[in-house]
């Protein structure tokens, strides 16, 4: 187990390093000058004069070679200094400190919804003997799976905020209102639901369903029944735990999808998280912010993957022996739909 943990952690670290280099390089490849877009943003969308652009680029050090800039960035990043936003001049670290917790909260709750809902629906579909129930759950899951995440979000917004007016449509709280739990919860429900339902919810539920259904006639489940265990014990201890392994293996990767999905969800629900920050930064070519956000997102995803691996190892101790690829024998359907 120790070896397994170390191996996983080392891999995660390597992934983060590779990620930082990759996203720095990727953003560097993007043409178009951040300076131009800053100036344009400042002048109300009017095109900026090329000489001004060149001057600003020089001042921002954007004309240094890529390795120099990467070195500068890394040496800052390890000290928690991600530079300042090209646009507002605000330290990126400060922006992250302001926004990352909200994204974590949103995705955390969405993961919770996703897990509770998918496990619930999947188990119901796997365990019920009523064909109509199973079929209607399956159909519902299929329908959810066919809907782009943003459509789901808009639909929820339309139903619960615009039509029924049960829930607020966005933000953390009313402006000026202290952000307390009682205020936050209703504001959180719609975006978290949208995020959970809009991103692989069906996949998860189906993984639970097939994972559990496949085990229903497994010898150890049969044995558990033959030993006169209570149905609840058989289901919870012998059927569900191992049946959740494929789902858990997939969930770690899925969190990445979810966070990426949060980008659009945060835009729609005015949720002040890193995703919204990233989209805005991307539109303004504010690479200082974008690079940091991507890195932070990547770190969260890597951590989520790590947690997913640990969950799998906990659910199925055999995995600890092999030390890698807990998902692979189950088909490893690691589709990332960001």
């Amino acid at each position: 187990m120790k070896r397994f943990l170390l191996l996983r952690a080392a891999t995660a670290l390597a992934v983060v390093v590779a990620l930082s280099a990759l996203c720095f390089a990727l953003l560097d490849l993007a043409p178009g000058s951040p300076a131009a877009s800053i100036l344009e943003a400042r002048s109300g969308g009017r095109p900026a004069a090329p000489t001004d652009v060149a001057r600003l680029e020089h001042r921002m050090g954007l004309d240094d070679p890529l390795p120099v800039r990467y070195g500068r960035w890394v040496s800052g990043a390890v000290r928690g200094d991600f530079g300042a936003s090209y646009g507002s001049g605000r330290p990126v670290a400060e922006t992250l400190a302001d926004t990352a917790p909200w994204t974590l909260l949103l995705t955390g709750v969405a993961v919770l919804f996703s897990v509770v809902g998918a496990v619930g629906a999947g188990l119901a579909a796997a365990l019920t003997r009523r064909a109509w129930l199973r079929r209607s759950i399956e159909t519902g899951l299929f329908a959810l799976g066919g809907m782009p995440g943003f459509v789901t979000a808009l639909l929820l917004l339309w139903i619960f905020a615009a039509w029924l007016r049960w829930l607020p449509s966005g933000g953390l709280a009313r402006p000026g209102e202290p952000v307390t739990a009682a205020v936050l919860v209703p504001h959180l429900v719609l975006p978290a639901l949208a995020l959970a339902f809009g991103h692989h919810f069906g996949t998860y539920a189906r993984l639970v369903q097939t994972g559990v259904a496949r085990l229903r006639t497994a010898p150890h489940v049969e044995n558990a029944r033959a030993r006169g265990l209570r149905r609840r014990t058989v289901t919870a201890r012998h059927l569900v735990r191992l049946g959740l392994v494929p789902f858990a293996a997939r969930l770690g990767v899925g969190v990445g999808t979810l966070i990426a999905g949060a980008y659009a969800t945060e835009m729609i629900f005015s949720w002040p998280g890193v995703g919204r920050e990233a989209i805005l930064a991307a539109r303004q070519q504010d690479y200082a912010v974008l690079t940091a956000v991507v890195l932070v997102t990547g770190v969260i995803v890597v951590l989520a993957n790590l947690l997913g691996d640990l969950a799998v190892a906990w659910l199925d101790p055999r995995v600890r022996l092999s030390g890698r690829d807990p998902a692979a024998p189950n088909g490893g359907m690691d589709r990332a739909h960001h």
Binding site: C23, L242, L290, A327
Partner: protein, 304 residues
């Protein structure tokens, strides 16, 4: 589920299947061929896809309108208006024409992206499975990195380097989804390689190439076909999401994603059908594709 990466570690005797007389659980290969015939849903899904494909390919035969030509004399017509069965948008563009031509784009993106994804994924997965251990590790770790990288960034960079276009979307989808195919292909090939019948084939004196061609690839094909079908749906979904974020198909080329994006501003202002039609097309296509994909991957405990 059982982790049998070294079945020959002990001389352990594999369990018998039941009393031995009755056929064991049907194998996947068998089912892949059988399932579609048995399930009406599969036929329906195939029909829907075929209909969409025909409508898209022969779009000009089904509508006299140019999907991007505006008509300021016929703006915002409701469905059922004379000459415009599905109505028009606020610029007077015929919605049916836009849906048909949009289907062209979306299906094209879906199919080509899925094709590239699957070919690349199988190739890389095959390399990982067959190649030396370091290559396996390299591919697996690259997949890890890419899975951790929000797709948005990749697409942003690609769109910036190549300019947003259909090709960029296709490439973006492929670059960000080959990993799943590669992982499945690798797992399948490794799993197949350790199956007894592959050993039996080697024992017959077949060459590596022959074994790969006759046994490994056909064996890995159903799950790959299944994932390929999912990729088509995934690509269409991704196309629409990217277009929604303004990173996808150039806005002037109708695609279902673009139609949705344009229309979503009208969700509350009366023109609900501008959202409903393209959304229905996307959902129906992905449903159909998913039904087919599940049928292909049936029995593997695989989900979509």
């Amino acid at each position: 589920m059982p982790i049998t990466d070294r079945a020959d570690l002990t001389d352990g005797v594999p369990p018998l299947s039941g009393d031995g007389g009755t056929p064991a659980a049907p194998t996947r290969g068998l089912l892949a061929a059988r399932v579609p015939v048995r399930r009406p849903g599969v036929w329906a899904a195939g029909l829907v896809l075929a209909a969409f494909a025909v409508l898209a390919v022969f779009a000009p035969l089904f509508t006299p309108y140019d999907p991007i030509a505006t008509d300021t004399a016929a703006t915002g017509l409701a469905p059922g208006s004379p000459g415009h069965p599905l109505g028009t948008d606020l610029l007077g563009r015929d919605l049916l024409a836009r849906l048909l031509y949009g289907g062209r784009t979306s299906l094209l993106v879906g199919l080509t992206a899925a094709a590239i994804t699957v070919v690349a994924g199988v190739l890389l997965g095959g390399l990982a499975a067959a190649g030396p251990r370091w290559l396996d590790e390299l591919i697996a770790r690259s997949a890890d990195v890419l899975l951790s990288l929000p797709m948005l960034v990749v697409v942003l960079a690609l769109a910036a380097v190549l300019g947003p276009s259909l090709g960029t979307v296709v490439l973006a989808v492929a670059v960000t989804s080959w990993m799943s195919v590669a992982l499945v292909a690798r797992a399948e090939l490794v799993g197949q390689r350790e199956r007894l019948y592959v050993r039996a084939a080697h024992a017959l004196g077949l060459s590596r190439g022959q074994v790969l061609r006759r046994h490994l690839l056909p064996g890995a094909l159903p799950p790959i076909a299944s994932i390929a079908a999912f990729e088509v749906g995934h690509a269409i979904l991704t196309e629409s999401t990217l277009s929604f974020l303004g990173l996808g198909i150039p806005p002037n080329r109708p695609s279902w994603g673009n139609l949705l994006t344009e229309a979503q501003a009208h969700l509350l202002t009366g023109e609900w059908y501008t959202v409903a039609f393209p959304a229905a097309c996307v959902v129906a296509t992905i449903l159909a594709v998913n039904v087919l994909a599940s049928a292909a991957g049936q029995g593997e405990g695989r989900a979509w």
